[in-house]
């Protein structure tokens, strides 16, 4: 099991030692043009999570390729480039300009910008034609049938899935009863998201068997193991990095201990373990029938 950061949850230039503690660094989403992001306030703490409405602040494709990417390569950590845009061509143009990175993650699900008009499958198909690099489609669990979207992007040529992105939410200022965030809504992350992530990873593994980067509410090694059991090949740390920059090493230690407690040699031995009961259930139901 390899450990990444969730896109937008770590700046490798500001904290290179944290990035080097991961098995791969995922960039903030790169869009064709530079974006300053949304007006502040951009974050709010909630009961068991947080909201963010950063709005894909990034230097834009040109500056990223010329300035940021060469410096990121110096980190010595495998790079995943998160790619965003507002139509399929935006995504495909950025994909075509990338090489020498481990994978591309297509951000098809940011809740803080207006959605791309093209469907997830159209975007994946355009990118597939533009690059031979591994393509991971980052999907939202806000879709009523995320497994159907997973099947569609798999058919369009995705090599893997990243699950899940934040879910749109709102927090009010207790004194004014107005939204805390300047944008009004933001993406909900943190421990409150974990059951949603488990369900989405479980459903999309069952639907596609594609490799999955599981994320959403991972605070501990045990949380990471739960995602592995649902079908995640890789696990990404998001909000926990804000509270604990030492989380990569801690989660890895806890993961090893959690696997040991379950009597397996390594966490990967529990890969898709949450699905193993389904056959039994099927057989039983046949017997009953």
């Amino acid at each position: 099991m390899r450990l990444l950061n969730a896109s937008g949850c770590l700046d490798a230039f500001a904290a290179p030692e944290v990035a080097r503690g991961l098995d791969g660094f995922v960039t903030k989403t790169i869009t064709p043009l530079p974006r300053e992001g949304n007006a502040p306030p951009r974050i709010a703490e909630t009961a068991h999570g947080m909201l963010n409405a950063i709005g894909l602040a990034n230097p834009g494709r040109e500056r990223f390729l010329a300035d940021h990417l060469p410096r990121l390569r110096e980190l010595g950590v495998p790079l995943w480039i998160s790619v965003g845009g507002f139509c399929a061509q935006d995504y495909a143009d950025t994909c075509a300009a990338l090489d020498g990175v481990e994978a591309i993650e297509l951000n098809l699900s940011c809740p803080n910008v207006d959605e791309a008009a093209d469907s997830a499958a159209e975007i994946v198909a355009a990118c597939r034609a533009a690059t031979p690099l591994p393509l991971y489609a980052k999907l939202s669990a806000a879709h009523p049938d995320v497994a159907a979207v997973a099947r569609a992007v798999a058919a369009a040529g995705a090599d893997g899935l990243s699950l899940i992105n934040t879910l749109r939410g709102m927090a009010l200022d207790p004194r004014t009863l107005r939204p805390v965030l300047a944008r009004g809504t933001g993406g909900l992350s943190g421990p409150t998201l974990k059951p949603v992530a488990l369900a989405a990873v479980h459903a999309c593994y069952a639907a596609t068997q594609l490799p999955i980067v599981g994320m959403g509410g991972v605070m501990s090694g045990r949380d990471a193991l739960d995602l592995v059991a649902c079908g995640a090949r890789l696990v990404a740390l998001g909000t926990v990095l804000f509270a604990d920059p030492d989380a990569p090493a801690r989660v890895r230690d806890e993961l090893a201990r959690a696997a040991e407690e379950l009597g397996v040699v390594q966490p990967d031995d529990m890969y898709a373990a949450a699905h193993s009961g389904e056959k039994t259930l099927e057989i039983r139901s046949k017997v009953v029938a």
Partner: protein, 252 residues
């Protein structure tokens, strides 16, 4: 270098409506004045950003205004309890200042006692919204104190290198009056080390990430005199508004 350690509470002492939280320093570097630490807030997901107020031998001291669930939890800590502390973070004040004058507003007094020590106790002016809040001036002996309706900007005399911390309207007013002043800003902050992009504030028309580019920034010298008058007037109006209710906890 910033480090993250679990540190014990030595004491939590009331200072007017604020709490002075003293932590065992352990292996943490106190850093330069104006730098800050992320303190784990018991029961909350995110830590809270607090600038260092004083660095007694073997300790780190933080002045906390209990304005929300996180700061309330920090103020309620008992001696012997332990929390994770990460820091020092951000860029502090430059200390190569001629004729320094410290300017503080409300809980913005927090980094000034440590700064005063480093600058060998220069003159200071402090503004508070009530006599109760002004009790915190005890942390900066000799400071001149203004209590509303008098504003701290009325106590600033020309010819000083100003180092200021306080509410945003006060900082904008001080920056307009004293181009080149060093201003310590505040913004909601989830991580403190550049990861979350939450603490962006618009300064000089550009969004800046306070935790890595600040929290101390130089005031822009580009404002016109007419701008200055408008900004100072706005400070006056906004302070009246702030005085009507408690300021929201900044990481909420």
């Amino acid at each position: 270098m910033p480090r993250r350690e679990r540190r014990s509470v030595v004491a939590a002492e009331p200072v007017g409506p604020y709490t002075f939280l003293r932590l065992d320093r352990g292996g943490l570097d106190p850093g330069t004045p104006g730098q800050f630490f992320m303190l784990e807030a018991p029961g909350r997901l995110l830590p809270r950003a607090l600038s260092l107020c004083l660095a007694p031998a073997g300790e780190l001291g933080f002045l906390i205004d209990p304005v929300g669930p996180g700061t309330e939890a920090l103020c309620a800590l008992e001696p012997g309890e332990a929390i994770h502390v990460f820091g020092p973070l951000g860029n502090g004040f430059r200390l190569d200042v001629e004729r320094p004058l410290l300017v503080g507003g409300g809980i913005g007094i927090a980094p000034l006692p440590y700064l005063a020590e480093a600058l060998r106790f220069p003159p200071a002016v402090l503004g508070f919204r009530s006599d109760a809040h002004a009790e915190a001036a005890v942390l900066l002996p000799g400071a001149e104190v203004a209590v509303e309706p008098t504003l701290v900007t009325e106590l600033i005399t020309p010819g000083h290198g100003v180092l200021a911390c306080g509410p945003e309207p006060m900082l904008r007013a001080v920056g307009a009056l004293c181009p080149g002043a060093q201003l310590a800003w505040e913004a909601p902050m989830a991580c403190g080390y550049g990861a979350c992009y939450g603490c962006a504030v618009e300064i000089g028309g550009v969004l800046k990430r306070l935790c890595v580019e600040g929290p101390v920034l130089s005031a822009g010298a580009e404002r016109t005199r007419r701008d200055t008058a408008a900004v100072v007037e706005r400070f006056d109006g906004e302070m009246s508004r702030l005085a009507r209710g408690p300021v929201r906890e900044r990481v909420l």
